[in-house]
């Protein structure tokens, strides 16, 4: 075949881009991905689950199922990113005055994929998933305003994640870090598919997230049930709202940054190149105009989880509700005014640095308010140290440390000393792991019984907590010290013997974190096995306050047989006190729910094809993918009959079955909530 025809057909893709790879570890990684894919396909085929998968999950527009699928995506990607992290820890521990186990180039791919995956394909899907599941229930809605768009957002994120998985098998990934700074990521220094993979994976995720943010905000503003004034919403909804607003305004800068970089790389433009008037500082501004609000996108929903968890397991109303709300709003607004602290060293005047340094420190104030509110919520509460609550304790302790090191970094003169050192790596992991990741794990444990109808095993939950907390401290506290000693981030090999003990400690911590992940896996397996012992069909295992607990576990697809009408934030608590929580409504009516459709998954698949083809310059396939995505949208607009009616009689049957079950279930006191007798009906306290 002639070279030209080959290029026309396959772009730059050649057999040599497929495994085996130059380096042993990369080859093994590729094989694991391939084996994993084959394993999933084989299992589904043997278990004859394909139909089930398509009918119940892939085509669903139900916000609860979409939420669960987001969480599954996040957990799968978390596994990969943690393995990469451990590999990096091993490398750094073994490469003091030595070669280590991976090449410098491979190490660079590792931190690039680890960072990209953790941010875009672990933390973001966790957040979108949790909000998807919980928020509509908490505001008494039947679904999000735009169920179809919701599914499109999910599948675009999944397509981005799939690009990262593909990059492990075919070709190589970017070595430009999760922030992809030019001019290094320009064609001159990074030819090849790596940066293109990064650009398109991140672009898919950012478009999906923008759509999701629009959906969340519209839902919160327009779908609240009667009586649910904004200031009666549970705090998780407020944090969801702030996150949604940040998504709406902060994702476009990322889209612009990656699009302009793509124009440079694909069309020879000069936005960020070294010559011809290009200016990489503009990239830094665009990227962090997204990047800083992004870290609040990541942390605010976790704040919401902590508020729910701490108030529920302290058996108290949240302390200082209004101050909490104002604090999140302040944080959301301020988060747009501090982006420059990511590049104090870039050469702007000291006055500019001072302004941004002070703005950064200001964020500590509303955050401090929240910490005190959480502490005061626990004060004189009847605290139950369940696994999510234990995670909350680690969070409170570690988050304060991380916040303080953040304030230290906000001083430009200090930042000049530790910029890009492991001190910074320690700081942001200190916020992201105890803050975001633990928040998501706690949320997963807290709402799992709601989603699946049975509780998670408590003992393994505590073991997981111990491993994660200890592992986090061991893995990251040494990095502060290493950073102060002068060890820079992203270094594959170092030449300072004094680093060794601290790197060893960090390595051991990472190993303990792996134990934490294994414990989470065991917890899931054990709980599924014991699911009849752990069942909580009545749906209120923790004596919850908000509306999501006022439904069966798992809730019906329409959420509420009758949409509730409330008169207070703690409407459900009041109903329980007055003994009217499980009374039948006066009447029922037909309910419309969206019909399933495979179009969103198709749009995601087309997006994957487009992104993959663009990375390899296979132009015909890229055009085809793009056209197919829009064809999906047009096709949807032609579908006439998108709703399905569930008749009132059916709603009544299901709801009365649940109410009967509730009335026959013995209520349990809070201190027996992890015992077998907890079937999901909380004792009415007076």
């Amino acid at each position: 075949m002639s070279e030209e025809l080959l290029y026309w057909l396959a772009g730059d893709l050649r057999w040599s881009d497929f495994p085996p790879k130059a380096d042993m570890i990369a080859t093994i990684a590729a094989l694991i991905v391939v084996a994993g894919a084959i394993g999933v396909v084989a299992t589904l085929t043997i278990a004859r689950r394909w139909r089930w998968l398509f009918d119940n999950w892939l085509s669903s527009l139900d916000h609860k199922k979409i939420g669960i699928m987001y969480m599954v995506l996040a957990f799968v990607m978390l596994l990969r990113a943690v393995i990469e992290a451990v590999l990096m820890r091993i490398q750094q521990a073994l490469s003091v005055n030595a070669q280590g186990v991976v090449s410098a180039d491979h190490f660079a791919q590792l931190f690039s994929t680890h960072g990209t995956i953790m941010i875009f394909f672990v933390a973001m899907p966790f957040i979108s998933g949790l909000i998807n599941y919980v928020m509509p229930l908490q505001i008494g809605a039947r679904d999000l305003t735009f169920p179809f768009m919701n599914a499109v957002g999910l599948w675009l994120s999944a397509a981005g994640a799939a690009i990262l998985m593909a990059s492990l098998v075919i070709g190589e990934f970017s070595t430009g870090g999760w922030s992809g700074y030019p001019p290094f990521t320009e064609l001159a220094y990074s030819p090849g598919e790596g940066v293109d993979y990064w650009i398109w994976a991140v672009t898919l995720s950012s478009i999906g997230t923008t759509l999701t943010g629009i959906n969340f905000a519209t839902t919160i503003y327009k779908e609240r049930c009667e009586g649910m004034h904004l200031f009666r919403m549970p705090l998780f909804c407020w944090t969801s709202l702030c996150t949604a607003i940040l998504m709406i305004f902060a994702m476009p800068p990322l889209t612009v940054a990656t699009a302009l970089l793509a124009l440079d790389r694909y069309a020879g433009f000069h936005f960020f190149t070294n010559g011809a008037g290009g200016n990489m500082m503009n990239y830094a501004n665009l990227f962090w105009l997204f990047g800083h609000p992004e870290v609040y996108i990541l942390i605010l929903p976790a704040f919401g989880v902590w508020s729910e968890v701490i108030s529920t397991f302290s058996g108290k109303r949240l302390y200082g509700y209004a101050s909490m709300v104002f604090a999140v709003m302040c944080i959301a607004v301020l988060s747009f005014t501090v982006w420059l602290h990511h590049f104090f060293t870039m050469g702007q005047s000291t006055n500019v640095n001072a302004v941004f340094g002070i703005a950064t420190m200001l964020i500590g104030i509303p955050t401090g308010v929240k910490v005190y509110d959480w502490l005061l919520t626990m004060y004189r509460g009847r605290i139950r140290l369940t696994a999510p609550m234990l995670f909350a304790m680690t969070f409170l302790l570690c988050f304060v440390i991380g916040g303080l090191t953040g304030i230290i970094l906000a001083n430009p003169p200090v930042d000049f000393q530790v910029h890009n050192s492991l001190f910074l790596v320690a700081h942001f992991h200190n916020m992201l792991i105890p803050g975001t990741l633990f928040g998501m794990i706690a949320g997963y444990m807290f709402w799992f019984p709601k989603a699946f109808g049975f509780r998670l095993d408590e003992r393994w939950g505590r073991i997981a907590w111990a491993c994660w907390s200890g592992g986090f401290l061991a893995a990251f506290m040494p990095l502060y010290w290493l950073g102060l000693m002068g060890m820079m981030r992203r270094t594959a090999i170092s030449f300072e013997a004094a680093y060794q003990p601290w790197l060893n400690a960090a390595w051991a911590g990472a190993a303990l974190i792996v134990c934490g992940i294994v414990a989470l896996g065991i917890q899931l397996v054990v709980s599924v096995r014991r699911r009849s012992d752990l069942a909580v069909p009545v749906g209120d295992p923790w004596d919850g306050h908000s509306l999501e607990w006022w439904t069966p576990a798992p809730p019906p697809e329409y959420n509420f047989a009758r949409r509730p009408r409330i008169e207070d934030t703690e409407a459900f608590t009041n109903a329980k006190r007055d003994g009217r929580a499980y009374h039948a409504p006066p009447s029922y009516e037909d309910i419309e729910v969206p019909r399933n459709t495979l179009i969103p998954a198709g749009i995601g698949a087309a997006g994957f094809v487009c992104a993959f083809a663009l990375s390899w310059h296979i132009w015909w396939a890229a055009l085809l993918g793009l056209a197919a995505m829009w064809a999906g949208v047009v096709l949807r607009s032609l579908q006439g009959d998108t709703e399905r009616v569930i008749p009132a009689a059916e709603v009544q049957r299901q709801n009365e079955a649940w109410l009967d079950c509730a009335r026959q279930t013995a209520p349990v006191t809070r201190f027996a909530e992890v015992e077998r007798i907890n079937r999901g009906r909380a004792m009415e306290t007076t």
């Binding site: 305004f249 000069h270 290009g278």
Partner: protein, 209 residues
Amino acid sequence: MSAGKNLHPGINLGHSDPAGHHQAEPVMFGFWIFLMSDLVLFALLLATYSAMSVHGVAGGPEPRDVTDLASAGIETALLLLSSFTIGMASLANKYHDDGRRLLQWLGLTAVLGIGFLAMEARDFASLIAEGAVPQRSGFLSAHFTLLGCHALHVAAGLLWMAVLVLQLMATGLERALRLRFMRLALFWHMLDIVWVAILTFVFLYGAAG
């Protein structure tokens, strides 16, 4: 809530279709939010342009060399006129059930939109013929990207219009379609607003500087 109350900014269906009025509320609200998000995109491209037009010239053409005020004037006239015609289309969408009047105004809007795109294509072609290609300098990259992004939006609006018109001919003016025409009109007006910003910062400032 009465039909007279405006449930969202812009033309409300209110009196002419009370049931559709309530259905419109969340949908239109969501679309307004989308427009805000899209505006952030343009704001950033404008900011990039303003930085590049000073620092990114690299010895090549400057803003004043690439701004043709006569052409920009015609383009502005075409686009503003099309905003008027789509406004008339929106009124037809609200008050007339048969869709004929709506089609007429939309047809006019499409003609104006295509005229605008043709003028822009002509501008681009003449710049390229002079050697002022986007690969020449950071400034020209920003110039082409900002205008190109706006033109792409206009083209997308025209395609959207075409799809909706085909649906209108197939099914008549159903309620779902009414709501889509309302959103198309908002989108079109936003592109007009963006154009005013472009006219000011790219063409007027460019010609003055």
